[in-house]
């Protein structure tokens, strides 16, 4: 029973979240996703057109007319929903077709679709590892991987972020286990840095370990032909499990997958709980994703444009005097260190017509607050120039241009 006392306890918890400055408020978007969008914030305010610099719409395909048309055709041809899990009566020919296309694109042996990459990560470890095995994860892996690891009975261990020396120590320490699996993101979502997959694979091969990569922030645009971090690092065909999402560059709707060694994917098909017990990916999403693969399979124009925009944006911010995290991906964190400063800058940028979000503890480590900007192939030069001008004005207002961590912390606090 939801008594008054129970209600009051939850209200107190919510007040605590708000008092800590952690309450999340949604902004209503009254347009399709794109380089610029119409936003109503706060609720009831006039709808405002702003440049979006915080989406995962890396290839600009979220509202692409050909993707929308393909999805519409899929809806007409294959219906709205399957009302079933995959293995009962939820697999259409287009599901298998998409899995085969993803297998080819990622350079693996087989692929299995999941309702999301969050579901893929939740289910994969428990399906393929047991208590005689060990998972050795980078300490900054995505939350969905942490959740999946906790559901698995294999032993858990971690290595310092991107520290290959520490990883080697861990691999040596766990030689007594039946199997070892090294787990990493391909591109880390808050810093935008890329995993050293070539070194990880070399260590894994030396110490007889499997390699798992969540490439959600890379599939479609990292690597010369956009296959992902493994292509960028020259290790295609040597990653045992790749999970990725259809909800970012590959259309931005929903859906995810596990892709990799034939036997591991088949184990997921037989045992992964989110696959066994959750509804199949809707036909409309599958149809849209197939079109996305058509578009990016025949041309690297979009990922090339994204790469160039990233270079332009990054060098523009650096010239203005912002403190950036080094990196190669279209995730470009603007470091502000102080939580309130990050919130104030994001608020002022919104007033200037730029939609970004400030991130601070506990989403990032204390004292490392930032605004995470994300580029899209949908951004044209004028979007980026307008963004840089807005950043310049806001940077001057807050006196942070040309300042590094020490000066910003001295002025604003840690």
């Amino acid at each position: 029973m939801f008594s008054a006392g129970v209600r009051e306890r939850y209200q107190q918890d919510l007040r605590g979240i708000e008092e800590a400055g952690l309450l999340k408020r949604e902004r209503l978007i009254r347009s399709p996703q794109g380089a610029d969008i119409c936003v109503e914030f706060p609720p009831g305010a006039p709808v405002k057109r702003v440049i979006n610099l915080c989406s995962n719409n890396y290839l600009g395909l979220s509202s692409h007319p050909e993707v929308v048309a393909a999805a519409r055709e899929g809806l007409d041809a294959r219906g709205y929903g399957m009302s079933s899990v995959r293995f009962i009566c939820g697999t259409q020919d287009i599901h298998r077709q998409l899995e085969e296309r993803l297998t080819g694109f990622l350079g693996t042996e087989d692929t299995l679709l999941f309702p999301s990459c969050m579901d893929a990560n939740a289910g994969v470890f428990e399906a393929i590892l047991g208590e005689a095995d060990v998972m050795i994860a980078d300490r900054l892996v995505h939350a969905s991987i942490v959740d999946g690891m906790r559901l698995c009975r294999a032993q858990q261990d971690t290595f310092k972020h991107s520290d290959m020396g520490h990883l080697e120590e861990k691999l040596q320490e766990h030689q007594d286990k039946r199997a070892r699996m090294v787990i990493t993101d391909g591109v880390f979502s808050m810093d935008g840095d890329l995993a050293k997959l070539d070194e990880i694979v070399a260590l894994a091969e030396r110490y007889d370990a499997m390699v798992f990569v969540d490439d959600s922030h890379a599939t479609g645009f990292i690597g010369r032909t956009g296959r992902g971090t493994h292509e960028h690092r020259g290790v295609v065909g040597r990653i045992d499990v790749i999970t990725t999402t259809l909800g970012k560059a590959l259309g931005g709707a929903s859906g995810g997958c596990v892709s990799g060694r034939l036997e591991l994917v088949e184990m997921c098909r037989q045992r992964a709980r989110p696959y066994l017990f959750s509804n199949t990916v809707p036909p409309v999403i599958v149809a849209g994703a197939l079109k996305v693969l058509d578009l990016i399979g025949t041309s690297t124009e979009r990922r090339d444009k994204l790469e160039e925009s990233t270079r332009y944006w990054r060098s523009g911010l650096l010239e203005l005097g912002f403190d950036l995290k080094e990196g190669e991906s279209p995730i470009v964190p603007v470091m502000l260190y102080n939580a309130k400063l990050a919130q104030d800058v994001a608020r002022d940028l919104f007033a200037e017509g730029i939609y970004v979000v400030g991130f601070f503890f506990p989403v990032v480590a204390k004292g490392l607050a930032r605004i995470r900007t994300q580029l899209s192939a949908a951004h044209e030069r004028h979007h980026l120039d307008a963004g840089l001008e807005a950043f310049a004005r806001v940077g001057v207002k807050h006196g942070i241009l040309g300042k590094g961590r020490k000066e910003i912390v001295e002025a604003y606090g840690a």
């Binding site: 995962n56 994860a137 300490r139 900054l140 892996v141 995505h142 939350a143 942490v146 690891m149 906790r150 032993q155 858990q156 261990d157 971690t158 880390f188 979502s189 808050m190 991130f359 506990p362 989403v363 990032v364 480590a365 995470r372």
Partner: protein, 100 residues
């Protein structure tokens, strides 16, 4: 009728057992009592599980718990070193929640 028995151990003057030493002693004695019969509720559960095909194995070990605000982690192992090692792994997995 249950009988409470008292065990007296003379300690050298000035010796003050630490709380965790007393807790360890208590755990050891409880394990001895359990092995001699103790409660019997576990036997029914064990019998049922074995009938269902489970193989059972009982061990005494260390449980370590860590709390910080709303966060809670717990690890169990045969040795205290192993339990803390596992606890550290659990804590470090969530050292910084990540963003989509």
């Amino acid at each position: 009728m249950d009988t409470t028995r008292v065990i007296e151990v003379p300690l050298p003057e000035g010796m003050k057992p630490a709380p965790e030493e007393l807790e360890s002693l208590g755990t050891l004695l409880r394990a001895v009592v359990e092995l001699h019969g103790g409660g019997h509720a576990w036997e029914k559960v064990a019998r049922r599980l074995e009938e269902e095909g489970w193989t059972l194995h009982t061990r005494v070990g260390w449980i370590v718990e860590a709390r910080r605000g709303r966060d809670f982690e717990q690890a169990a192992a045969l040795s205290r070193d192993e339990a803390f090692h596992e606890l550290q792994s659990l804590v470090q997995l969530d050292v910084v929640p990540s963003s989509p």
